[in-house]
Amino acid sequence: MSARVAVVVFPGTNCELDVAGAVEQLGGTADLVFHTETSLHGAGAVVIPGGFAHGDYLRTGALARFSPVMAAVEQHAAAGGAVVGICNGFQILTEAALLPGALQKNAGLKFLCRTVECRVETARSVLSGRAEVGRVLRLPINHFEGAYTCDPATLDRLQAEDRVVLRYLDNPNGSLDDIAGISNTAGNVVGLMPHPERASHALLGSADGVVLLESLLAAAGAGSVAA
């Protein structure tokens, strides 16, 4: 049975079809789960895709954390299931306190859509289990609020616990410590600003995101047994 991934759709989410398409291209099964639902229907992994959930009104991710589906996402994470937030999904995971820190406006105070180089910093997360540490991936970013920030104690913990998943080689947005993606302590919850699904086919200019998505599918396959 192929790995099943729940892709959460808030009003204003816009990368759900891209993530679902990339998952299915790699042999997984993707279920779109609307934000009003209260169950993930036994999926092995959850992706909160990019976009502008609830218009990003008030503050990015601030309203989405109150949607009914987030209780199911939190349960899934607490049970050790794989949860990945991409871009706006990362912002939502920090607002929901599933990941520490916050994403603030880019240093240049402009929206940035471009491809950047990121280095894989650890293989002990659900998104990088199959990636080689030190490998440089070309991944698109697409955000206005992508500068990761946190207090010094949190940064110390992220570093000490090997929780920085990806770092920018040439920091595009002013992120603290060049951070592009982090995980929780257990490594089953990951948030990242780059979009692996946008680097999933040679025709799109890079297929470097495939190794990340394959890692997630492997984790989803393992996770669905427990669920």
Binding site: N14, F52, P172, L204
Partner: protein, 759 residues
């Protein structure tokens, strides 16, 4: 609007003659509401009254055209059961007054036009024109227009995959903000703006109706700017991309479930326009009850409700049995939905305030606030306005800049400073400051994004792709509008050929000055002729367009600016097309003929201030031959690099390819032509290719067989850009000047976090 003693009809933009026509067709004086509706519907913006006669000239038919001009969007068949819906619009006047909201609502409006056909919008392109960046207000307009497109387009979830930014002093107070949207729909799922049978109900979907945008079509878009333009700010609408995103998803679901008969966007003219046009196209009538329209503000008058241009609203026509299902589906997406009218068999458009009761059926109601023949709203006056070639045109065309330039830059002059000056002009310089602010990758279709010749999108579920390009060079049109319009079509077609595509359809946005000036109508007429001739020669049907008149400030008309958007089809898109870039160890070829054609060129006009002359020759047979030859080479992947030769001439084309590939060259100039002309003339129908050294001879032979002039210029390599006897510059300097020109003009160079590589 300020209180004045002006008669109401004039305040609404209607002339005394137009009022007389309304009185004659109604057989009585119109009510205020009726007058307001005619004011909107008969405005230049909605009725095309000054342009209609000329627009009939465009060729519009081809076997693959499913819907031609006149509906929400033109639609073409792209094979495999798929159709593509395309439309282009202008939002010039609102953007001049309130750039961020003006540009944003332009994006919102065009997206609604496209999904009203049942298509999911998948791409936007923004051809923009501004004054020069040494002017503070121009910098403000430029930054905020781009910011508005970025904020709205990114959030609404439709990628902006291309466009243009051109700078010329003629747009100083009247920027042009054109926007093209493309959507994809299964061919058998097309939705039309029809009302169907009497008894169907009209449901208003989306945002509540407020006082914003009242008079947008008649007051703003159909008159020039004067000293009181600031006072028109309340006529600019305010956009909400989150509302629009939910509206898109809700409407696409309504279509998917077969719950709607027809649907139309509420754009210019608001509810008056949408409700009357929908019913008129089905030869039916429509009764509307303004009391049922959800409102944003208290005490709105029926006139305000009927003419408001509040954004993010759609009118859906549904069968009564589907009302509950439609309301439930809208509720899921948090979309307001209210039954505001019903379709009748009266062929009249009637408006009530609180008296409408669906149970009454089609019984006439004596208390109608408006009651007019429905077809009369859409059948405004048609004007054959006087047109005249201005007396000054002769002298303008005669002022060829080449003799003066040839004198200043005889062979042997070092042209390096001239090349650098050209690369620093904002119209030629790197535009990534603009398009990095746009999400240009959403939906995973973007194979070639902004910054190249044509944008290339894959059509998922097929092996095909689309190539999109918009072009238009007003400076050529100013000298000779007919030739300039031909050149706009040729450049867009050449760009899609460089992506290996065959042009299948054209949409145009015709931006002009005041149509009451005979010189402007002459420019317009000539433009339509030239564009039609080029389309006929290349076999490209026109499937839609937009006319924007009254682009002027304090009496000065803008240069005629027709923008051509071409949609090309790529039969097999299995690999990324060759880039507009050079690599080491390649051979550089140029196709097409170079002549000392400097009239209207970037070098003559912008660098040296010589703005006269004739535009380059626009021979259509030569162009068609070149396009087909380039398309076949690219489709076969017989070349390694390919780039259209346009603004700035051959030297700029080569420099752009060198910058993109981070690779220099060492070339020999074309024989028999002065070096300066060879470098900077903007002769049409030229393309630069790069190949492996072994393949060059075969390409030259094929060119000869195809009747396309071709020349081997020499090898690539090294870190200098060298054309013997013309220029010799280092690639680092060229790159820096080209890349930093726009950020520097805006005082926004990114410094430490600027990446060195390309995207």
């Amino acid at each position: 609007m300020p209180v004045s003693t002006e008669p109401l009809h004039r305040a609404l933009g209607l002339t005394d003659e137009e009022l007389a026509a309304i009185v004659a067709l109604l057989g009585r004086d119109p009510s205020d509401l009726e007058l307001a509706m005619y004011g909107v519907m008969w405005s230049e913006h909605c009725s095309y009254k000054s342009s209609k006669l000329d627009l009939r000239r465009f060729p519009t038919e081809a076997p693959w055209v499913l819907v031609g001009p006149g509906e929400g969007a033109g639609v073409l068949d792209v094979g495999d059961g798929l159709a593509v819906a395309v439309r282009i619009e202008s939002h010039n006047h609102p953007s001049a007054i309130e750039p961020a909201q003006g540009a944003a609502t332009g994006v919102g409006g065009i997206i609604r036009d496209v999904f009203s056909m049942g298509a999911r919008p998948i791409a936007l392109m923004d051809p923009l024109r501004f004054g020069t960046l040494d002017d503070a207000r121009t910098r403000y307009l430029f930054e905020h227009v781009v910011g508005g497109i970025s904020a709205y387009g990114n959030s609404v979830g439709v990628p902006t995959v291309g466009g243009e930014a051109v700078f010329d002093d003629c747009y100083r107070e009247n920027p042009l903000v054109n926007v093209l949207c493309l959507g994809v729909v299964a061919r058998d799922r097309l939705v039309r703006a029809v009302a169907g049978a009497p008894g169907n109900v009209a449901v208003l979907l989306g945002a509540s109706t407020g006082r914003d945008g009242i008079g947008g079509a008649s007051v703003l878009a159909s008159a020039g700017f004067g000293a009181d333009s600031e006072g028109k700010r309340p006529s600019v609408q305010v956009g909400d991309p989150f509302e629009e995103k939910r509206l898109i998803e809700a409407c696409l679901e309504l279509f998917e479930h077969g719950l709607v008969v027809g649907v139309q966007d509420l754009g210019a003219g608001g509810l008056s326009c949408a409700a009357s046009e929908t019913a008129a196209s089905s030869d039916a009538g429509m009764d509307v009850d303004v009391a049922r329209v959800p409102r944003r503000e208290a005490q709105m008058t029926p006139v305000e409700v009927m003419t408001s241009e509040s954004q993010e609203r759609m009118l859906a026509i549904i069968e009564p049995r589907h009302v509950d299902a439609v309301l439930a589906l809208c509720d899921r997406w948090d979309i307001r939905a209210a039954v505001v009218g019903h379709v009748t068999d009266t062929r009249r458009f009637r408006v009530f305030d609180g008296l409408f009761d669906p149970a009454r059926g089609t019984e006439p109601d004596p208390a109608a606030l408006a009651d007019v023949p429905i077809a009369s709203l859409g059948e405004g006056p048609v004007y054959a306005r006087p047109r005249e070639r201005p007396w000054s045109q002769e002298a303008l065309v005669a002022a060829d800049p080449w003799p003066e330039l040839a004198r200043q830059f005889p062979d042997g002059t070092d042209l390096s400073p001239e090349l650098l000056a050209l690369l620093a002009t904002p119209s030629i310089a790197d535009k990534s400051w603009v398009w990095r602010q746009y999400d240009h990758q959403l939906f995973l279709n973007t194979v070639v994004g902004p910054g190249g010749d044509a944008t290339v999108l894959r059509l998922q579920g097929t092996t095909r792709g689309l190539a999109l390009a918009t072009d238009g060079k007003a400076r050529f049109c100013r000298l000779d509008p007919r030739t300039g319009a031909r050149l706009a079509v040729l450049e867009a077609a050449r760009n899609v050929a460089c992506a290996g595509a065959t042009p299948r359809a054209l949409v145009n946005c015709l931006n002009f000055g005041n149509p009451e000036h005979p010189a402007v109508m002459w420019q317009f007429h000539e433009t339509v002729e030239g564009m039609s001739e080029a389309c006929e020669a290349l076999g490209i049907p026109v499937i839609g367009g937009n006319v924007s008149f009254y682009n002027e400030s304090r009496g000065a008309d803008i240069d005629p600016t027709p923008v051509a958007g071409i949609i090309g089809l790529i039969e097999h898109l299995d690999t990324v097309p060759p880039p507009a870039a050079l690599g080491p160890g390649q051979q550089v070829l140029v196709l097409g003929e170079s002549r000392p054609e400097l009239g209207g060129s970037e070098w003559a006009a912008v660098v040296h201030g010589l703005t006269g002359g004739a535009p380059p020759d626009a021979d259509l047979v030569t162009a068609a031959r070149l396009h087909e030859f380039v398309r076949s080479l690219v489709a076969e992947r017989a070349v390694l690099g390919v780039h259209d030769c346009a603004d700035g001439g051959l030297a700029v084309t080569l420099a752009e390819m060198a910058i993109a590939g981070e690779c220099g060259f060492s070339l020999t100039p074309a024989p028999g032509l002065a070096a300066a002309a060879g470098c900077f003339a903007e002769s049409a129908s030229r393309v630069v290719l790069s190949t492996t050294p072994d393949a060059a001879a075969a390409v030259l032979r094929r060119a000869e067989a195809a009747g396309v002039p071709a020349l081997d210029l020499g090898p690539t390599g090294g870190d200098r850009l060298v054309v013997t006897g013309a220029f010799d510059v280092g690639i680092a300097e060229v790159t820096r000047i080209w890349r930093d020109a726009i950020p520097d003009a805006l005082g926004q160079r990114e410094g430490g976090i600027r990446p060195s590589g390309r995207v």
